[in-house]
Subunit: 451 residues, 2 copies
């Protein structure tokens, strides 16, 4: 994995690079479950150029900047496989209620009062600050006003796949099916050539999107090679309603419409049969597991271990802050590991290394970006997070990966890089005016709570 440069005499001359990160531990995720002690990561421009022992790195590279992390684990940036980041402004709006009253009595009325470009911008800004402070470097976004989302992620240099929403009723974003599609393609076109941003189609759910729209999405997804980011089998009720209305399970309907393929990002899948697991594995579908949202809204329990063992790519997401109530991928990993054992009835299920892999490379693969991000390997984008482990709460250390999943908290993330840019430096956000972000969050609270 090391890169060398030679001078004209054939001897190795040190190579100039932008950054050398020297860490107590590097956890590359690929190869799996490996902890590299006393390793360095050399970064040039936006790329990782080498992962190698510190002493060797000092011989091979002359960095413009050196960052020493003597008590830290360096991990790939976490990839949030499913979120609705503008809803960060609705954090904790309605708790301890089930999915349908939560949507109908709380979330939808609040959205009717609030959603617009400013809400989306301010919510995404708050979310970016929270994600960076928690080691997340990329997210799979799913909300209205994707144009505003994209502009906000671009402004802060945050990596995101932006969902292009499709739903069969009017919203402040679009008022007809044609308008949803026209605007989706317009946003998609406007983002060509972006280095950190991509798009996906984001049909809301089988129960809110018609066959006709799914067919259009299937054609366009094929043609443009775009992922389809879909809430699927979130609840048992969704499945039984579909059996009543369509004579088949939502997954079967989606398959019939040609959408079961390697571009499908199936979110939730709390209801899944063995045959469906096999089909997902065979066709390359990714499943995003959002265990905390599923528990909190009592949506159902995704058999994540069975899915993984069945050969399906497993990703991890937080869902939106109105249900979770945070964008804490550390909390989500921990819950997924613990509750996963319970659902699988196996204490060895979803071990720490497997969960870390799902929250990095697994989510990256779901987004179609596993060649670019999700592991610390030479040639990949330099998206990384450092977690400081010398706190009282994470000592002593017997197993670093276990410690990250079962004891560490996101507040122990000290540094974050996206595409080689230092976004969080010793807990300080590089480009975000947090006072202003918080002031806006409080203003939205007044407006939403007043109604």
């Amino acid at each position: 994995m090391s890169v060398e440069s030679s001078d004209s005499n054939g001897l190795n001359a040190p190579r100039a690079v932008d950054l050398l990160i020297e860490a107590r531990w590097v956890i590359p995720v690929e190869p799996h479950a490996v902890v590299l002690e006393g390793h360095a990561v050399a970064v040039d421009a936006d790329c990782i150029v080498a992962v190698l022992p510190i002493a060797e790195a000092r011989r091979q590279f002359v960095p413009r900047e050196r960052v020493e992390l003597p008590e830290h684990a360096l991990i790939p940036g976490l990839v949030n496989g499913h979120t609705h980041n503008p809803m960060t402004l609705m954090r904790g709006l309605a708790d301890d209620v089930a999915l349908m009253p939560w949507l109908q009595e709380h979330v939808w009325p609040a959205e009717a009062r609030a959603v617009g470009p400013e809400f989306v911008r301010d919510g995404v800004e708050l979310a970016i600050a929270e994600m960076l402070r928690g080691g997340t470097t990329c997210c799979n976004e799913n909300y209205f006003f994707p144009d505003v989302q994209a502009a906000t992620y671009r402004r802060y240099g945050f990596r995101a796949r932006i969902g292009l929403p499709v739903i069969e009723f009017p919203t402040p974003w679009a008022s007809s099916r044609d308008e949803y599609f026209d605007k989706a393609l317009e946003v998609h076109d406007s983002l060509r050539g972006e280095t950190l941003l991509g798009t996906s189609f984001a049909p809301h759910a089988p129960y809110t999107v018609s066959n006709e729209s799914f067919e259009r999405i299937q054609l366009l997804s094929n043609q443009l090679d775009l992922p389809v980011h879909l809430h699927l089998h979130e609840t048992a009720g969704e499945v039984s309603d579909s059996l009543r209305d369509f004579g088949m399970r939502p997954f079967a309907r989606i398959r019939q419409l040609g959408l079961v393929n390697e571009r499908l990002i199936a979110v939730h899948m709390t209801q899944i049969t063995e045959a469906e697991i096999a089909e997902c594995a065979q066709s390359g579908v990714s499943i995003v597991h959002n265990i905390e949202s599923n528990m909190k809204l009592l949506s159902g329990f995704c058999p994540a271990e069975a899915i993984r063992r069945g050969g399906v790519n497993l990703a991890i997401g937080t869902d939106g802050c109105a249900s979770n109530n945070d964008l804490d991928m550390f909390g989500e990993m921990r819950s997924a590991a613990m509750v996963g054992k319970m659902i699988a009835n196996d204490a060895t299920a979803l071990d720490a290394a497997t969960i870390l892999r799902a929250a990095t490379l697994g989510s990256a693969r779901a987004l179609g970006w596993h060649e670019q991000i999700g592991s610390i390997e030479s040639g990949k984008q330099a998206d990384m997070a450092a977690v400081r482990l010398d706190a009282i709460e994470t000592q002593p250390i017997y197993n670093v990966i276990s410690q990250l999943i079962y004891a560490a908290g996101r507040h122990q993330v000290s540094d974050v890089w996206i595409a080689g840019q230092h976004k969080l430096r010793d807990r300080q956000l590089a480009d975000i005016d947090t006072v202003e972000v918080l002031a806006r969050a409080r203003r939205w609270r007044e407006r939403i709570a007043a109604a």
Copy 2:
């Protein structure tokens, strides 16, 4: 709840007190689910003397010290209902394995190498630092060398109920049944008159303690009015083994031995029938719920909501760090609330206020100390924790109690008082040399990991 003093003219003169804490929100826990905005808590010596609006407090009291908490929620100190704090030195020793291999292949061999007075002292010190930094002010301790534990808790002014261990095999603490009991009574006697410390009998479990020992415990517990802190119905295997060996469930055996009464602290109870819930309610048994340990070791799933609805006092504990892997009562509350909905199949189960109550007043009641601690009420001991909520991760705020349970982390605890003593001040531990505590933890790690 306010206290007034009058001068000789019958007019109200301000009263001198040691401390006035002025908080954005005070959550007293009793009355239930109430949030007092802009309230103050007046403290004199070790006691709360009033809870009242800030303006009123400033008229009534002249404090020697005033602490302003303009962005904080003040809650009762959290009470960890079940822990093995010396095992903090074994944090993450063995993860992703089931209870029996965890005990037999990892924990017991490590204990055989390490356990002694120094191990217990150093582990408890590390645990006290972690607990204080996480808002915990009292714990229900269960390990060997209760004399060393007591000395360590006393040195740091930490409130604890110290279990007096009884088990039917020799350990470094005692080598025969008589020695366990002799030493238990000796430790109990040595702690008479302590203000922050108490004892309980801690027979390990039905499968490691004989009827004869239980009978002695029953007599002594009665005579000395001491709680009995017992792992009970931790796994289905424990229940089936008991049916095979004793012809009855462990709970029935314990009842037959006269131990099912208001002094019993039943820990785990993952296996419990409706009839057993009714008996626990009627006899005043407390049940301590340790959801994270139960999930991680796949012990089983305590039906906490059914237990609570059945009228049983519900407490919350973390269990020891070798299984959990932390002493994080915030994490435990969050998991209990989320997973509790799943087990109860009800999204409204174990709502945020109910869980906060279980982790404070519920645990206090389990320990027999609900008259002294567990809520912020005039006349109670001044055991409190302040949680700073203006971080990115906990804004905006719609519901303060929800925010504490579903979004806040223990690192947001800014200040902690025990019996009026300021133990954590703006994240700084008052009396603990953390450098030394961490150095000792690392030395234990070398010793334990080497073998």
